[in-house]
Symmetry: C2
Subunit: 195 residues, 2 copies
Amino acid sequence: MRVYLAGPEVFLPNALAVLEEKVRICRAHKLQGVPPIDGSQPAPSPTREGALAISRNNEELMRGCDLVIANMTPFRGPSMDVGTAFEMGFMRALGRTVLGYSNVDDGLLERTVALCQGARSPTGWTDPLGMTIEDFGLGDNLMVDGAVLTSKSEVIRQTTDDAARFIDLTAFARCVEEAARLVDTGTIRGRHSIR
Amino acid sequence: MRVYLAGPEVFLPNALAVLEEKVRICRAHKLQGVPPIDGSQPAPSPTREGALAISRNNEELMRGCDLVIANMTPFRGPSMDVGTAFEMGFMRALGRTVLGYSNVDDGLLERTVALCQGARSPTGWTDPLGMTIEDFGLGDNLMVDGAVLTSKSEVIRQTTDDAARFIDLTAFARCVEEAARLVDTGTIRGRHSIR
């Protein structure tokens, strides 16, 4: 089983080391981790052509994977990295299993109220523009969390030290165990389609 | 041609009116706008089951659409709404055309540097955690912008008044014109697959 390793850790200065460790954890559970970057690619040119080459490479890698484990840790705001959210949608549309974890345990509502001056209104929680803050008891937007729930799993959330937020792999490892369990029970059966 | 209308305007207090106006603009260009909500659904229960019902409904709506026009305006941080990013990935994986617009013209780099205390380092722009800030001259993360470029289009960006950021439909209307042009030239030919 090939597992696409989606997450904003590609932006870390030690991205390759963190991704290698993710691959190692997968291997310990008889899963093949597929990182978006592995050091074999040339440094991208800082142009839209460079960006497009990475985008196309990641899409091809995803098409060749049976499931995705997404790092849904809030990134530069109350919600997760949008590139990773895109990849969850991509894999979901292909009918592949979508698993996810976050190194912040607070729910979306709590985080958004805190970071975006949310307030209680007669119709629910809203931000200063009057826009609703989702209140479904989930960790993030209902489309991304919904993909994990539809995959018969749960987003694994636990809070780490701030400094370790994008490095700590404890929740990731729990997610890999969950993937191995879903493979063992036949819930994940390769590149089949879930509707 | 059926156009899925993705964007965070679903969170506006006047969401239905804004979405109706989007549908009207589509109709003026002989396109059928498909909003995620249209007032016919019951109010969702504030539970994960309520969230999951919306998630499943949106996924089914997307499967029945030929293209998506995504509102990529930065939402509660330097990047776009993650639910909309998920939907762009979903449509991209199905091979449908992905178009997008933003009511903020600044690029991702400028916005992230401003909002997240970015600084120039020897390896490029980084945030306070040392994580790279993408510098490809794009409006947002390379996966979301890449999907639009691969669809042979451009993200249409223009800055509106702050108060009109999630209401102004000028850039959306330009995006609909672009969709109509791509249909006329045969670039969009219905639910075919782009790789």
